[in-house]
């Protein structure tokens, strides 16, 4: 039986394949590569799911029995899984494949980073602070939020590209959905992400209260998650109350995702309690 790391390697390749097909479908305006892209994306999503559950089983085999959401490697695998699932839902609901380019790219980069030889992918038992159900809820909700923001950012980039195109209604730019749909989709993804980020921060706060005796401590990771939350809160207020749409919202959505990336990766360069993830 193959181990989960092997399955994740195959998944990485499949996400890459999906990316190539989605790009081909977009540039050459052909149905077949687009359909192949969808097939590859579904396969990769399935592989990713299998990899996740197999690793879970492996932790049991080693006698540590934990949900594999406790280090950078495991979080990257889960991040790509969230992106794939949310994206596929959008593709089936709105029948747009162009967004798949960015979604498959993000998922690919995430698992590719996880598969780097320098990545510590060993199954390590949990230290006492990490043995908590609140931690599981915290990681799951945070990454669903992050994935939604990633897709929102992708759609926003498409929006900016389309509105900057000299001839937005023909050629490759013409195959991007109309700006109104993109704007609406960005908004939907941001609200979805915002709800999950909020739940993620809240469950994290409850976990911190139980493990360290404080629900908020201005630890760099906490602070950056708040910064991210504040940026998206600004976006929502600007849109609901000041009627911002289109370009301004797209730019804010990209800035928000930059904050997400820093919260995820950048904070590890700073000192703090979250040093294990």
């Amino acid at each position: 039986m193959p181990n989960s790391e092997f399955i994740i390697s195959v998944t990485t390749f499949t996400y890459g394949l999906a990316l190539v097909f989605y790009i081909a479908g977009w540039i050459f305006k052909k149905e077949t590569p687009g359909r192949l892209g969808t097939t590859a994306m579904i396969a990769a999503g399935a592989g990713n799911t299998a990899g996740f559950f197999l690793r879970w089983a492996e932790t049991y085999e080693m006698g540590y029995s934990y949900v594999p959401l406790s280090n950078l490697y495991e979080s990257l695998v889960f991040f790509s899984l969230c992106i794939a699932v949310i994206y596929l839902f959008i593709e089936f609901k709105y029948k747009v494949r162009t967004i798949g380019i960015f979604a498959s790219l993000c998922a690919f980069l995430s698992v590719a980073y996880a598969s780097l030889p320098s990545m510590d992918s060993g199954i390590q038992p949990l230290i006492p602070a990490l043995q908590s159900n609140w931690l599981i809820a915290h990681v799951i909700t945070c990454f669903i939020g992050y994935a939604a923001f990633a897709i929102a950012c992708g759609i926003s980039i498409m929006y900016l590209g389309k509105s900057a195109a000299a001839d937005p209604d023909t050629g490759t730019a013409g195959r991007i959905p109309d700006t109104e749909t993109l704007d609406d989709l960005t908004h939907q993804m941001v609200t979805f992400g915002f709800l999950f980020l909020s739940i993620g921060i809240i469950t994290g706060a409850i976990w911190a209260e139980q493990a360290w005796g404080r629900y908020w401590g201005w630890d760099p990771k906490e602070t950056w998650s708040l910064v991210t939350w504040l940026i998206y809160a600004t976006l929502l207020h600007a849109r609901f109350m000041r009627g911002w749409t289109g370009k301004k919202i797209a730019v804010l959505s990209c800035v928000g995702f930059a904050a997400v990336l820093f919260t995820y990766f950048g904070v590890n360069l700073l000192p703090g309690l979250h040093s294990y993830l």
Binding site: I206, R214, T223, H237, P271
Partner: protein, 462 residues
């Protein structure tokens, strides 16, 4: 909008300042930007370390701006207060009009808005009169949507059926704002009435006293905490697996509660929460000191306890064991558990003596008449408990819950109004279905599609 006049009162002006959403956007982004500073400069570190890192001039500026403890600085708190004022004023101002929409004396429907809405679906039904169709459709629409009202516009016998759903969802955003107020209130309650401290309880003993984290002052609980057993377990790799203290709460000499305290599983008693935080080893009552005469190598052994003074062999000096440290730092190196003693000669100055448990020949360095070491130290574990009282936590948790529910209502539910218009035509009736909503344009479009499909089925039967 009101016309601005010069005799607008100061209160009005302040109100108008805080009622601006532009202010909200500015404050949210300012809070986001300034919060970053505290993640780049480690907070509440040693002043000397800051000075080394930044140099004197920069250090002075940063210190003046409170950048080393910025989340508690006056200006950061001011920003938070401004945001709260902004949030309250905006909410109160908007709530007035929202309230009228949610609880109208008489619901009004603007037919034109429905006629112009995108996603409006129209089709024709042959040989049917608007009046008859109304009889079929009205009960159905009533079953699907609340607040149905029927109008007959003056023009040629047409019928308009309005219905709506989810008026109350307009309150969702106020719930979110209220939850932010709760979080702030909870944090304030915690900072005023709460405290945090550390208590070390050796196995088999009970303690009441603990020291406060911020001030190092001693404080007493209303009850005693007894540690019956402490256990630390490791994985084969040496990683810690579990820290567990069996503790008992003792009130007036009686055990009222027992709990296995673990990391992630604290115990709350009378509003005071105890967390498994650290552990260590503490020496028991008695230990043996070995006194080796440097000149002859003769050994003498004596039993002693902390705080006790003994006479050295020959009677020329006295040895007192003064203190114990769990991990003593000697010239920057951790030499593990050590006793601190003092040797007082008959005449002359007292000499401090360091007695590391794991390095028995350490005292040879002193080159005294006697080389002193300790043995037979009966170590016991002590459990390090974090003691915390924060009456604000329930308020904060209530805020958490309301925030999640409020966000869900605000983003995923909407106040949706539907309009079914029946217009008489030469050979039958033209039916149009349209919907408008506070948000969720796509969701409304699909709701219009669904309703019209259902109506088509209903009307084709008649």
């Amino acid at each position: 909008m009101k016309t601005r006049n010069n005799d607008e009162s100061a209160a009005d002006r302040i109100w108008r300042f805080f009622a601006s959403v532009r202010l909200s956007v500015v404050l949210l982004l300012t809070l986001a930007a300034t919060s970053i500073i505290g993640t780049l400069i480690p907070q509440n570190a040693d002043p000397a370390a800051y000075e080394r890192k930044f140099g004197q001039p920069l250090y002075t500026i940063f210190e003046a701006l409170n950048l080393f403890d910025m989340y508690r600085s006056w200006w950061f708190r001011l920003l938070l207060c401004l945001l709260i004022a902004n949030l309250v004023v905006c909410s109160v101002r908007r709530l007035k009009s929202t309230w009228k929409t949610i609880f109208p004396k008489k619901p009004t429907y603007q037919t034109e808005r429905f006629r112009k809405s995108s996603g409006r679906i129209q089709w024709q039904v042959e040989k049917a009169q608007p009046g008859d169709l109304k009889q079929t459709l009205e009960p159905y629409i009533r079953s699907r949507l609340g607040n149905v009202s029927v109008k007959n516009p003056e023009s040629q016998g047409g019928v308009l059926i309005f219905g709506e759903k989810g008026r109350w969802t307009r309150l969702g955003v106020y719930a979110v704002h209220f939850s932010v107020l709760l979080l702030m209130t909870g944090a304030l309650i915690g900072s005023i009435f709460g405290y945090e401290g550390q208590m070390n309880v050796p196995e088999g003993e009970a303690r009441k006293q603990f020291s406060l984290t911020n001030t190092n002052q001693s404080k007493e609980l209303d009850f005693e905490v007894r540690c019956d057993e402490f256990e630390v377990s490791h994985y084969p790799s040496g990683r810690p697996k579990d820290y567990r203290s069996d503790i008992a709460i003792v009130e007036n000499g009686e055990v009222v509660r027992q709990h296995e305290l673990r990391v992630n599983d604290p115990l709350t008693h009378r509003g005071v929460t105890m967390y498994q935080s650290t552990y260590g080893k503490t020496p028991g009552e008695k230990l043996t000191v070995v006194l080796t005469e440097s000149a002859t190598g003769d050994k003498h052994e004596k039993t002693i306890s902390i705080g006790e003074t003994i006479e050295m062999p020959g009677g020329k000096s006295e040895l007192t064991i003064e203190d114990y440290s769990d991990s003593f730092a000697f010239r920057g190196h951790n030499i593990g558990p050590a006793f601190l003693a003092r040797l007082v000669p008959e005449s002359g100055r007292a000499t401090p003596v360091l007695l590391p448990v794991e390095h028995p020949s350490f005292d040879r360095m002193r080159r005294g008449d006697y080389e002193i070491s300790v043995k037979d130290v009966d170590f016991r574990y002590y459990t390090g408990l974090q003691i915390k009282q924060d009456p604000g936590v329930p308020v904060v948790y209530a805020g958490f819950l309301i925030m999640i529910i409020g966000c869900y209502i605000t983003f995923f539910m909407s106040h949706r109004k539907m309009c079914v218009e029946l217009q008489p035509e030469d050979t039958g009736t033209r039916i149009s279905v349209a919907g408008i909503s506070t948000r969720n344009r796509m969701g409304t479009k699909s709701a219009v599609k669904k309703l019209s499909r259902k109506i088509e089925n209903l009307t084709s039967k008649t």
